[in-house]
């Protein structure tokens, strides 16, 4: 049950999208988000959708998976649509009933907002779908490294992030195991009122916390045994290198984003 969460998941692959340097990918995604909010009309968004479909196609991530990733935000999408639909003032109304009224401008904004949110999620999830958590944190660390001059603990933060990401699947598995064990002793998680249900979680949470602390302790020992002492003098197994794929990807993105922004300026 807990294993069904797909958002933020990584799908290993060998596609050109997978091979883009994580730093470049992060910068391109930020550029994409900015572009997304500068587009204005059907032409610019059409181009944008086409571009995203192309990225999904090249990355060989099943489209079904991408669509499934949208499910958790369905509520936000519907909520935004309704708010925009009814609360955008306009000159011409196409529907009026009591205090409810829908303007043509409202319809337009609603569609635009829904489209933006969905494209935002699809676009950013392409980053997590095609980049392993380790690469992602490596890229982030490298991009934030100028802050080290200001004594910001960039390396430590990115190490914390890697470790946290690494242990999510482990802890989910652990939770499943503990739940099964307590159910075997007759624990009941499904019935009762909210207080009883919260109490029923104690037999899961206590062992889970204990095991998380134990794992943290063991990990710290293992890291110390391998003489980990932070950033200073540390070399990397996977060096980040900008290659031809990165230049190509940047060029394509520059062209598309430029076109979208230009079209948006003309309100298309």
């Amino acid at each position: 049950m807990l294993k069904d969460i797909t958002i933020g998941q990584f799908f290993p692959g060998e596609s050109p999208v997978h091979r883009i340097d994580p730093r470049v990918k992060i910068v391109l995604v930020i550029a994409m988000i900015v572009t997304l909010f500068l587009g204005a009309g059907p032409v610019s968004y059409g181009l944008f959708i086409l571009f995203l479909l192309m990225v999904v196609h090249i990355s060989k991530i099943p489209l079904k998976m991408v669509v499934r990733g949208l499910k958790p935000i369905l509520f936000i999408v519907i909520f935004t649509a309704i708010l925009n639909l009814f609360y955008t003032p306009g000159d011409t109304y196409i529907f009026e009933w009591g205090f409810l009224h829908i303007s043509t401008a409202g319809v337009k904004t609603a569609i635009l907002m829904v489209l933006r949110i969905m494209l935002l999620i699809v676009g950013t999830s392409m980053l997590t779908y095609t980049t392993s958590p380790i690469q992602l944190t490596d890229g982030l660390e490298s991009l934030l490294s100028p802050l080290k001059k200001l004594h910001a603990p960039v390396h430590e933060l990115s190490m914390m992030m890697s470790i946290a990401l690494r242990f999510i699947p482990t802890l989910i598995e652990e939770t499943d195991k503990i739940m099964a064990a307590q159910k075997a002793r007759g624990a009941d998680f499904e019935s009762g009122n909210i207080v009883q249900r919260a109490k029923a979680l104690v037999p899961i949470l206590v062992p889970l916390f204990i095991s998380a602390f134990r794992r943290a302790d063991e990990l710290a020992t293992a890291m110390e045994c391998r003489l980990y002492r932070g950033d200073v003098g540390r070399t990397r197994m996977r060096q980040l290198k900008v290659t031809r794929v990165d230049y190509a990807a940047s060029a394509v993105c520059a062209a598309v984003f430029g076109a979208v922004i230009a079209l948006g300026r003309f309100g298309l």
Binding site: I178, A180, Q182, K183, A184, R185, G186, D188, P207, I210
Partner: protein, 288 residues
């Protein structure tokens, strides 16, 4: 005689309909006799852990049925009676990681309390379960987290014993213990079996240990039952067991090699006394 637990064409598929689909159990038909000690063996991924989670209704079969006392544990509405969990006690691998209460007595009482037993009965059962697994009564009010690994495991096993299950299922109860701790745990399981006449299922890696305790053995391979029978019957197929990637007891290996070299001995031997008998028989009854 009817079986206490029975499976009919039990099939279970993990992640059905996704690219990660995997059949863990493929039309498994087994019958477990009342009061026996059954050893279940099979290498990692052979489906043995999946199988035992069907016995108390933790997993719902993809198809097929599990019968407890001849009655299906899943009714027509697709529900499993909670009582099944109490009648079939399941001890998971590394059960010490499920402890959560402030005191040992409270932790052991978790199962009986969930059964809705009165306080005195619960207390009596806790006391008895602690005695069976050799925990001193003065430990009752201590925190389970202050104990050693082996003692924690005993507390966890006592937590299931206190429910007095008719069928006790243990998944790798001796994993990670030293030989001494291993013998102790197996001793407690036998003691519970002797006192209550319960049916016991032992899932284990170590052939040697299983063969010593079990009346009957069940060998799982590739989601199916490969062999069943008494340890002797099973080890008569020692070559097939080895081919399936499982180990046979050391003494059986010696006898297999002897046979390969042309000595006409019985290869189904799995303990040293049996080996002695076999060699005596070979020498015409004379002492060696």
């Amino acid at each position: 005689m009817s079986y206490i637990l029975e499976t009919r064409d039990l099939t279970y598929v993990y992640g059905a309909g996704t690219p990660f689909e995997r059949t863990a159990l493929d039309h498994v038909n087994i019958g477990i006799e009342r009061g026996e000690i059954l050893g279940v063996i099979g290498h990692t991924g052979s489906g043995k852990s999946t199988l035992i989670q069907h016995f108390n209704g933790l997993l719902k079969p993809t198809s097929g049925q599990v019968l407890l006392d001849g009655k299906p544990i899943w009714n027509e509405k697709g529900k499993c009676a909670r009582e099944t969990r109490f009648r079939v006690g399941l001890v998971f691998q590394y059960p010490e990681y499920q402890l959560f209460e402030e005191t040992i007595a409270k932790d052991i009482a978790f199962g009986p309390r969930n059964m809705g037993l009165p306080e005195e009965e619960t207390a009596a059962r806790v006391q008895h379960a602690m005695a069976v697994v050799g925990l001193a009564p003065e430990l009752a009010e201590k925190s389970p987290f202050a104990l050693s690994g082996g003692q924690k495991r005993r507390v966890a096993i006592a937590g299931v014993l206190a429910m007095r299950p008719d069928v006790l299922v243990l998944d790798e109860p001796t994993a990670g213990l030293d030989p001494c701790g291993r013998d102790e745990i197996l001793g407690y399981v036998r003691e519970y079996h002797r006192q209550t006449g319960a049916t016991v299922l032992l899932v284990m890696h170590s052939m040697e240990d299983v063969a010593r305790v079990a009346d009957r053995m069940l060998v799982m391979n590739h989601a199916q039952v490969m062999l069943t029978g008494t340890p002797r019957e099973v080890f008569a197929h020692a070559a097939e067991i080895t081919a399936a990637g499982l180990d046979v007891p050391e003494i059986t290996k010696v006898f297999m090699e002897l046979r390969r070299r042309g000595v006409p001995v019985d290869p189904s031997v799995y303990t040293v006394p049996q080996a002695l008998d076999a060699i005596r028989a070979l020498k015409g009854g004379k002492p060696c």
